[in-house]
Amino acid sequence: MNKILLFAGLQEKAGKAELQLEAVNKSIKEVKELLKDSYQLEEIDTSMAAVNEEYANGDFVVKEGDTIAFIPPVSGG
């Protein structure tokens, strides 16, 4: 199983900050599609992904226990 973290607009749209998902052996791109379908999260297309607190590309393949965060365009500072 994998922990999925959502932030900012994604978090509000999904109505939760965190969820559990079986994503092992899926690519980040596939996980995005899955979430988009389940939660109507179109904004996930313009979000980055981070695996275990490091940015990861769409073809990164998820392993057991990985934490995947979806990061909308940032606006700190």
Binding site: A8, M48, A50, Y55, P72, P73, V74, G76
Partner: protein, 155 residues
């Protein structure tokens, strides 16, 4: 991680950040303080809310410090970013960079704030009289069409 890069739920203390980079070798300390502005493009902001992916944000702030050390040798950097609800004029971010000579302190400090806006997972929600919105991509230079920033932004 270092204790010079942190996310805080409490008000930031400029002196505390400056103290972290003050040293005998430095003659210059540049500080950038980002505050909550009332008007953006004519629209009145009532308050802001900042959210962060805290552990990753602290790592990315520390990464910016490392990048600065590589680009400008003999610099020392500290960065604190606040999260939660902020009122107008409250401090959202404090960057302090100390260097032996002043030119580098300006360049490195400027680099830090630009990088924060690129790679650090922190988000701002603006509250106006007639609505609220999570602000994204405020640099307005990239829309992350590939779902992530370019490779060179992340390394």
């Amino acid at each position: 991680m270092s204790n010079k890069f942190w996310i805080s739920e409490k008000a930031l203390d400029i002196q505390e950040v400056v103290d972290l980079v003050t040293r005998r070798e430095a003659g210059a300390i540049n500080t950038f303080i980002g505050t909550v502005r009332e008007f953006t493009k004519g629209k009145r902001t009532l308050l802001l809310e900042y959210q962060a992916y805290v552990p990753m944000a602290e790592k990315k702030l520390a990464q910016i410090g490392e990048e600065i050390k590589e680009k400008w040798p003999d610099t020392d950097t500290a960065i604190a970013h606040r999260i939660g609800r902020l009122d107008i004029t409250d401090i959202a971010v404090v960057i302090a960079v100390s260097t032996p000579h002043r030119a580098d302190s300006y360049d490195a400090s400027r680099y830090a704030i630009e990088r924060i806006k690129e790679i650090v997972p922190i988000w701002k929600k603006e509250y106006w009289e007639n609505g609220e919105e999570w602000i994204g991509d405020q640099k307005e230079q990239k829309a992350y069409p590939k779902g992530q920033p370019d490779e060179e932004d992340l390394t």
